[in-house]
Each structure stands twice: as C-alpha cells, then as structure tokens.
Amino acid sequence: MARARSTPRLVPAVVAVALAATACGSTDTPTGSNADAGITIFNTEPENPLVPGNTTEVGGSRVLDPLFTGLVEYRARDAQPVNAMAESIDTTDSKTFTVKIKKDWLFHDGSPVTAKSFVDAWNWTAYGPNGTQGASFFSQIEGYDAVHPKDPDGPDKPQAPPAPTAETMSGLAIVDDHTFTITLSEPFAVFPVTIGYEVFAPLPEVFFKDRAAFEGHPIGNGPFKFVSRTVGTDIKLTRNDDYKGDDKPKFKDLTLKVYQSRESAYADLVANNLDFMEELPPNALAGRQYETDLGDRVVQRETLNNQTIAFPFYLPPYDNVDLRRAISMAINREEITERIFEGTRKPADGWVHPLMKGYRPGQCGEYCTFDPDKAKAALAKSGYTGEIVLLSNTDGGHQEWAEAVVNSIKNTLGVQARFVPSTSFGEFRQKVNAHEMTGMYRAGWVADYPSIENWLTPLFRTGASSNDGLYSNPAFDAKLAEADKATSEDEAIELYLEAERIMAPDLPSIPLWTQNTIAGRSDRLKVANLDPFRTLDLFSVEVA
C-alpha cells in the first residue's frame, strides 16, 4: 500500500472538482452471462519472486492466491475456514494433527498433489538459509528451531545466525501418499484455522528441481493456471479446467494489470476499461466522489482490519491505567466515524473484529464508550495534568481523524493534547519497533487468519511478535495459554473471550473503529464481491 500514498496532495482536489461533472462512461457490453470471458483486475507489481512461501505482500499474493489451493480456504461470505485440499484435519489434544488430503488432485503440470508436496514445501519455507518471508508462520511446528535458529544479535548486526542443525522439521511426518501428521511444540487449538494462508500451499516437485524456472512460470494446484508475465505491465492467468475444488470460476481469463498509480487505474475503472479494483484512491474517496463516478458499480463490505491507538508501556505517563481509561472515554467514536469517514467505519466496542466467529459485542464495555464525566473522573484519579501526544504517519490519510481524536480528547478532558505527524510509514514503524515512541500512537491490525485468537495473542501477549507497546499481564497470558490448549473450537473461543475481558480494564490499546473496504467494478461484471481480506472473491465473478 505504500505505493499509493505519495501522489501530489493537490491532485485529489482537482480531480474531485472536475469529476463531479462526469457522467459514467459507457462501453458496449455483450448480453448474457459469459463463462469464457476474460477480466482485467488491478494489481501492483509483485515485490518478490512468485513463490507462495516467499510472498506476503499484496501484489504477489493477488497472483498466487488463484494459482494455489491450500488445505483449507477461507469462505468469502464469513471468513470461516473450510476444507479445500484437506479431506479432514483431526486432533485429540490440539498438539498433534492428522491431515488427510483429497485424492486425484493435480498440479498444473500434471503431477499429483501428495502429502509430500505439502511437507516438502513447508520444510523448504521454514528452512532458515532459504531466507523466505513466510518462515515465521511455521514457528509453532515442532523442530522449527532446529531448521531456523534465531540470529543472536538481530539481522542488522554482523554476527551470522548459527547454522541449522536439521533440514526438516521433526514435527512433520508423512504417513502415506495422502496422509501426514503435524506436531506442534505447544498445543494450539486454532492451528487448523491458520493454515489457509497461501504460505502453507503445496509445491510441485519441479520447484525443488529448478527454482528459477518455477519463479518465471509458477505451477500451482489452484483454480487458475499461469500463462505469462510481462514484468511491469501485467500477469495473465487462465482457468484450470481440471480444477477439483467445489467452486469453479465463472469466467476464463484473468489479467492482473500493473498500474503506475492508483489514480490512473481509477480513471480506467470509471471508463470501464478495468474490471475490478479494490481500495480506491484518495481522490475517489474524498467527499464520496466514487458514488458519483461509479453509481451502482460500487462494491463495499466490512473487512478484517481495525484502527486502534496503542500505548508505549515503557513511557510514563502512558503506563497509568486511569489515564488510558480517561483518554479512551474522551474519544467520541460515533461522531468521528460519522463526520470524517461518513459512515464507512464502525465504532469498535472491543479488540476482536465483529466478523470473527465467537465475537461478542461490548467486550470493552464502558471504557470504549464516550462519557465525558467518567473520563474527567478517571483523569482526576490518574493525577496527570501534562500534555497528551498522539503520533501517526500521515501518508495513509490518517491526519484528519488523528486531529479529530486529539481535539475530542482536548475538549473533553480540558488538557493539552497534540498530534505529531510523521511523514513516512516506514520511518514510523521503525520507531515503533525500536520502542522509541514519544507518545501514544496509531496502530492498525489486519487479520493474518480469521480467528479470534489473532486479534489478541500477537498484539498483547507478553513478548509477542507485534506487542510493540510492551504490554504485559500474567493473568491474561495464562488465560491465553489455557485457551491454546483447549480441545474444541467452542471451548477455545470461550476462553479467548475470557482473556479479552481480563485485558479490557487495562486498555492496552484503544479500539477505535473497524473498516469497510470500498471497491469498484466495471459494467461488464454482473457480480463481483469482495472477500473479508480486502481482495476480489474470484469465484463470485460473473461476466455479463
């Protein structure tokens, strides 16, 4: 997303004014549903080689997702994991999982998909010296430390990481051609939910023989086959007619076109030259311009991401729980979402996203409800009278709401509050990671996998990978550990909810709102839906 943020600031205003007068362009469209049609969708240039285990950024994911089908896939309707290549995933202790995969599935080159395709792919991705982006996704599997030893002084320092003592993870074992077992180092009840991400995709044997050739022409097992790529221009895929999955695409050719800027892609979308684009550029969002331009071609849905304000627990006074409560209760979420976002965001009432299975409303309770009197009382109790500082990068359109939040705090509490912008996301993240924040700061979370657990553990467990504010609560950690060991999903969900309630009074971060993603489609597409992960649900597409 970094790429869209740097358009000259004046552009949106100019175009917004000019576009206001625009009638939608029209092109001739053939009538009747067309199963052999081709569509063109927006993409950004993939930033990594096209290997599932080595691509976690969006430009590459949009290409690899249709090419590969994993053990489970997430249903576009409600983000629930459903078995795709897996026949069954069974466990009795949430530590050892027996995976049976469906028979007769083939890779695009005709070779069969077997248990070995998965195990080899996972071992390759996890192997430290391969330096893949997806390696850390396998860290829960037993034997990960042996194939991927920690760098003792961090990646930027001279000391090289120790050589791995094994080439394969001891936690993966092939039983027969269509069965393998996964043993985790610790019980983790939601593990089967996490493996829908394409990092867990199987790889054909040709990959291990000739990696360079594979990167130039990826071979997967998914609903689409790779056709060709012109770097910097487009990538062409076509329907895999031998696809064994339950859903079949209702169109034939898929072109992922690389655009120089989101604005130019949007112009093509308005003119019906581009069939689908998610996340419209700022000039289209300003003043809801997209409604004028696209009319009924707007596609909108709630997606799995939220916006929060995180606290640096290493910096007084933000370690003061009463101050955190005062700030949270002083923010008028309703008004800000209405005024600034015109209803495209929904005020949050907890840390878990409402689309998650097991979500319970009001987990944050009174602490996330605007209440000036209680906020003032909490502030008095905290004894803090100094200035409150909110930090955020401004290259993602965050300035407007950040200022509104600061004003809301200032007006409600009657203290000094200041918004300190930072120009680039990269620089901002670097300071967050180095624990050098000088105030509370903007944070957002996009779900890695659709589980209630993903909204709690990585962010708030002591020492967790994205616990940048260094929050720590032993009771909360213990409850999470208990939930991880649960033997059924329902039990796990109950325990995670309890953990959320334990954490709520501490307010380790302030939930602000959850987000809608706004996309647009061309006249040619009769149906085109977004999935909860902010991308086009290809199976939903019907061409007129």
């Binding site: 970094a2 175009v15 990646p155 093509d268």
Partner: protein, 307 residues
C-alpha cells in the same frame, strides 16, 4: 573537434563516478528500513533480512559496497531487484517506451513552439504576437499534472475520444501524453524563440541579407532562424534529458510503463539496485545530450570553434 569530443568524454568519467556514488549513498541512506513493505503489513523475518542484506552487500562499509557495485556495473551487471528481476531487463523494457514518449513530446515542443515563436517574433505587437504571449503564459502557469488530469477527464472520460490510459505504448497512443508532457516546455520554447528572433531581426547580417535582395523566406529560414536557434537548441537538448527521467507525473496519469514510474516506485519500495541502475543510465543520457547540444552549436554558428 575530435580532441574536444575526447576531452568531453574523459570529463564524463569523474562526473559519472561522482553522481553514481551520490545516488548509491543516498538511496541506501534514505531513513527507514529498506525491506519495509516487502513482506506486506508485517515485519520481515530475520532470516529474510539477513539474506537480503547479504545479497545487497549491506553489511560491508559503504565505500566497499559502492566499489562492488561499480565493478559489477562496469562489467555490464546492473544487479537484481529483491523480486529477482534483472535490473537491466527492466531498463531495456522501459527506456524505449519513455524514449518514444520523449520524442513525441520533443517533436510537439519543437514544431509548435518554434513556429509560434517565429510567427510572433516577426510580428511586433500584432494580434498573433499577443495571442502567443497570452496562451504561453496560460500554459506556463498550469502545472503538468493539472493539464494531464484535465485532458484525461475531458477527452478520456467525458467525451470518450481517447482511452483514459495508454494500454500499449505505441507512437500513436503516446500522442496525447506527449502533448501533455510537452505543454510547459512548448510555451518556453515559443517565448525563447520569439525573443531571439525579435532581437536578431535587427541584426546587421539580416539588414545585409535584405539589402542583397534575398527573398524573405530565405532570410528568415536560413539566416535568422539558424542564429536564433542556439538558446532554443540548448533548451531542447536538456529538455529531452529531463523528459527521459522526469515524466513521472505524465506517466503516472496515463499509465505509461516508462522509466519515470519505474524510478518512482523503486524509490518508494526502496529498491536500491533499481534506482541506482536507472538513474545511472539517466546520468549517461544527460551527459551525452549536453555533449550533443554543444556540438550542435558549431553546426549552427560557424564562429564557434572547438579546437
């Protein structure tokens, strides 16, 4: 002449080394993690960063890093981006596109600009002169991105005469972006040639030519124009260099897959190998363009000698 060219070419060596060094240092010295964003919205795993740092020699002292880069460069190896794409392939794919765009723009700028300049320069304070002055003032005062978006909006989206973006960058498809890119410089060229013509119109050699009874067409076309074009040629030459590297805005608006967009995106994604490679080529082009312009002076004005 030959010695002059040789001397100029030799002078390019330190300029080339100096600029590439500066670019190299600046690209990798941009604040922020060079691998941020490569892994989507999460931080890259340590092993990935270790491998990338090794691939781009980031653990070496800066001078050594640059030396390694320069040695590879002199052997024609521009390096590989983090996505495993050869930098030289991308340069080979994008340069012809931008060159085509630049040539279209240059042609527009030269033909329209010089014609307007000559016409208005020859008619003092007439209607045409005022028209050229006002319209160029208008063009100069509008930034290119406004012209670009306005053209795209009016002709592409409202009237539907052109496709709003360029799908395949052929000369024909690049005419509209070329006009947009040239609009600003065209105005400058018109004003430059106007001033130059108006000044030289009263020069002695023109009066002599008139006295000899030469036809006006010949006086203007050969004597006057040739002498008046020196500042214009300087401008056009450097402008071609600027077009090649600076068409970012136009390329972005019309989705032309050229050099400008490539550099811009590479800077944003901190793809150091790509930025340094492309800008190095741009530096070379610019140096050669200035040399070419200097040599053209001698052709236009016989009084200029280089030995």
């Amino acid at each position: 002449m030959g010695r002059y060219v040789l001397r100029r070419l030799l002078q390019m060596v330190p300029v080339f080394v100096g600029t590439t060094f500066l670019i190299y240092v600046l690209v990798w010295a941009v604040p922020g993690d060079p691998f941020e964003g490569k892994c989507g919205e999460r931080d890259c795993p340590a092993s990935y960063i270790t491998m990338m740092r090794e691939r781009f020699n980031l653990d070496d002292p800066l001078l050594l890093q640059y030396w390694k880069y320069l040695v590879n460069l002199l052997q024609g190896d521009f390096g590989v981006t983090s996505s495993g794409v050869q930098v030289v392939d991308r340069i080979a794919a994008t340069f012809p596109v931008t060159l085509r765009l630049a040539l279209v723009a240059l042609l527009v700028e030269a033909v329209i600009g010089i014609t307007a300049g000559v016409v208005s320069g020859l008619r003092d304070r007439g209607f045409l002169d005022s028209l050229v002055l006002v319209s160029t003032l208008f063009l100069i005062s509008i930034p290119v991105f406004v012209t670009g978006y306005a053209v795209q909006l009016v002709f592409g989206l409202q009237l539907g005469w052109i496709a709003p973006t360029v799908t395949t960058p052929t000369f024909g498809n690049l005419i509209v972006p070329g006009f947009v890119l040239a609009s600003l410089s065209m105005a400058y060229v018109a004003r430059l040639s106007r001033a130059s013509i108006a000044e030289n119109r009263r020069a002695d050699y023109v009066r002599t030519a008139l006295a000899k009874g030469l036809p006006t067409r010949r006086i203007v076309g050969v004597h006057l124009l040739r002498n008046s074009l020196i500042p214009v040629i300087t401008f056009l030459g450097t402008d071609l260099g600027a077009f090649l590297g600076g068409a970012i805005v136009t390329e972005g608006i019309f989705n032309v897959p050229g050099v400008g967009g490539l550099v811009f995106r590479s800077i944003l994604t901190k793809d150091g190998a790509m930025v340094t490679g492309v800008v190095t080529v741009l530096v070379l082009v610019y140096l050669l363009m200035t040399l070419l312009v200097d040599l053209l002076y001698a052709v236009l004005d016989p009084r200029i000698r280089y030995d």
